[in-house]
Subunit: 483 residues, 2 copies
């Protein structure tokens, strides 16, 4: 018998029963049966759905069948027939099975039972083989591809901004050092400072916290660019919302003003959510059902009103609410939780920084939809944001999502050299560090805007997962860089 | 007059003369003219081509015209008319011009004349505004998108492998340290070693040199994955072929053997080259002409026989030559330069590592097309490559491109636990560091393969640029992390 070409299970499940020989490979999810027949649920990662393999002990040797346990890799040649009762249209009646790799049931950690998320993180090298994490990482691919496609269709250029950098875009300071020094023998200058001239790059270098500043350079040349790369924060936060290494999408656009910027962000979010709904139906249905199960563990008052799939559809069906910071403060000041002092941080005056409890109130209680807040007080925002006429606010914007909080942060950038220099002076940012950034304001400056979208925040929203460590393959957090 | 919506120049140049008002924004490339009329070549980065703006001093004020110099950003409202002689079908007769940002001709570095590549690297924040670098980075986007599309269409999943890692896939050791320590106060243990327990991750961490090992974990769960991310080498090489930070594409596939792996790499390379030829015609024509100009500076014997566009087409039209390492050695041993001792490294025995002079001979002189060499001696290859039956070679493969050398390196991975452990033992690679990698061989192991494609090597080939620092926006090299 000639060996047919291997077919992936995703494709096989869309085919008709043909009685033709087929070759399918994958990992055993479960095996059940009796003396007369065995049913093997086989998965190859191409889809959340398994193909059922029917193995007759009269055809497949006992020795082979014994090795077919959860987690084993097998290769099956058999006929595609109509399925009697597997929930799928077709199944495969095995004629030959080769066991490629066994999985000792005493040792294989991923047995078919419920595992805690904490345990799954400890076996992050294997968890992608489970239904939940298979679905999560297929959705991650789909969202990633949708991001590239969205920008490509609009004529944006993907710009690879540097990962190792001397600049600190946010001025936050919580960066990781990158060095080639032997840490036991750090060379010092005569003044007792680290002698960075002797390091690989001849200067102090860090891991980037944002590609924005370099992205702006690209926008002021290529018009519309976006970055999609890793960014880093050495923040000692052990929360369900923070990672030390995460992926950001940062578009920067020449000739965009603040409202253009907001519109682009809203269009992007709707595009990628729609893409996921259209292309990841099976995975999202599974994740939606999973999230509903999880909800049952929560007290009634904390449960989401809508299912995951309903929440995704809701984003598509509703315009985002756009309000100024000043309007947001008014709403919050007059809100019940503020008057009844239920907020941890009571809103008293204009100028207060919004905490996540305030953002959640606006999004989940007051407007019950995504909210865009713009024109923030300049004191609570970064130096590069464009100063408004009122001399109090800057053309910043944040997009808040239900259950997530801030998913996008952006602004129109300050394109006026004198205003930018003045603000940098007030905030003690040395001009010599950013001479190249200032150059774009000296030569052919123009209005421009951009924003950052935290990819893992988007993942949390689309997958309904509760912890950011569960939406990136190998999370980096304080005290953990395993795998 | 209502202001029309802004149109990008790439789109405008495909439109018919309509006599309709249009709004176009961009940066001035050149202005020429006389008392009666001014011609402004305007570019907005969307295309290498400029739109010609015709400005009549009777309509546009002298003050405005004076500010319109090379590098200035302007906004133009005018009518789209048939072009008399600009080389384009249409031009814009200006009715209003707003100068958004000037560019002092005394100070703006990017004046319209020939600049050295070295100088352009010093102004990497502005060089994207030039024809050459605009073309290079639009092509970079196109290739990047083509990579994603190729894998997406084949059902691969994009996997974001970690950037900060404790593992060193190649065992090369030339990694950058990542630390949150104050470099002036490195904590030491009682034994005088660096006390990594006190560092952010609680262990020694580096920047990844490859996503392969984690990629394999993904392939053994999701079937077919690819990474596309930054990788790092702290190699003190000041050459036209090395970067400290570069982007790699690393697919890993379950159930692929060596020849499947080679076929996938060949298909990928042809796909992305074809994509560039189809979608970047204007940019590639410019770069091809530019490369031919550069060739004229070389001695006759070193000049390429084909133009850039011909070289790209050649890749599509020819199957890659596939030869074993043993065959390669035979060819080299019997070659003229070996017999006449023209090689710096004379090939005498089987087992010799191939130098770039040998690779160039095979590709450029002997076969005159891309060459795939496979089944290398195990001694010169990495621990994870699958050992062949002959006990001497491993199922490795390199793809060599004319003018570039190695563009792809890959292998079938060793899926047999005992063989892998034995090889790790021989090469002194501690098993405890890679327990998770070994687990994939313990549980459901299966044949699998993968390769790495250096994105900047691909960029060099497709753009015809001569230095790898000129195909990445902000190159990181010894003593340079500017911007």
């Amino acid at each position: 018998m000639t060996v047919p070409a291997r077919i992936k299970i995703k494709k096989l499940l869309t085919e008709q029963a043909s009685n033709q020989p087929t070759l399918v490979k994958g990992w055993v999810r479960t095996k059940r049966g009796n003396k007369n027949v065995n049913f093997i649920a086989l998965n190859d990662g191409s889809t959340i759905n398994n193909i059922q393999i029917v193995a007759d002990p009269a055809v497949i040797s006992e020795d082979t069948l014994k090795k077919i346990t959860t987690g084993a890799a097998i290769s099956v040649i058999g006929k595609v027939v109509e399925s009697a009762g597997s929930g799928q249209a077709v199944e495969v009646v095995a004629e030959q099975i080769e066991v490629l790799g066994t999985a000792d049931p005493e040792k294989y950690p991923l047995q078919p039972k419920k595992h805690s998320m904490e345990f799954m993180r400890e076996i992050a090298h294997l968890r992608m083989r489970s239904n939940t994490f298979g679905a999560v990482f297929r959705v991650r691919h789909a969202l990633s591809f949708a991001v590239h496609q969205f920008f490509h269709e609009k004529g944006f250029y993907n710009l690879h901004t540097p990962i190792i950098t001397g600049s600190d875009a946010e001025g936050a300071g919580e960066t990781f050092h990158v060095t080639n020094f032997d840490l036991k023998k750090i060379p010092l200058t005569e003044e007792g400072e680290v002698d960075y001239k002797k390091d690989f790059f001849g200067s102090e270098t860090n891991l980037t916290v944002s590609g924005q500043l370099e992205g702006e350079l690209g926008a002021m040349a290529l018009g519309e660019i976006y970055t999609f790369g890793p960014t880093f924060r050495a923040e000692n936060s052990n929360t369900t919302r923070h990672l030390a290494e995460f992926w950001m999408i940062e578009p920067e656009m020449a000739f965009y003003e603040l409202q253009d910027n907001i519109q682009l962000a809203e269009d992007l979010l709707k595009y990628v959510v729609k893409y996921a709904i259209t292309n990841c139906q099976d995975d999202l249905q599974f994740l939606s059902a999973r999230a509903e199960e999880e909800e049952k563990n929560k007290p009634q008052t904390e449960r989401q009103e809508m299912s995951l799939l309903e929440r995704l559809q809701f984003i598509l069906d509703n315009d985002f609410e756009r309000i100024t910071y000043t309007e947001a403060i008014e709403i919050l000041k007059n809100s019940k939780p503020n008057k009844k002092k239920k907020f941890n941080y009571i809103i008293e005056d204009w100028g207060a920084d919004l905490q996540s409890e305030h953002e959640r109130y606006l999004v989940e209680k007051h407007f019950k939809k995504p909210v865009v807040i713009y024109n923030y007080p300049k004191e609570i925002k970064a130096f590069y944001m464009r100063q408004n006429e009122d001399d109090k606010t800057v053309a910043a914007m944040d997009i808040l999502f239900p259950g997530i909080g801030e998913i996008v942060g952006g602004s129109q950038r300050e394109e006026r050299l004198e205003k930018l220099q003045a603000r940098m002076g007030e905030m003690h940012i040395p001009e010599e560090d950013l001479w190249w950034y200032l150059d774009t304001r000296k030569f052919g400056t123009a209005p421009h805007s951009g924003f950052g979208l935290g990819f893992e925040r988007l993942m949390l929203f689309v997958t309904g997962m509760g912890n950011i460590r569960d939406v990136i393959p190998f999370p980096r957090t304080p005290d953990n860089a395993e795998f």
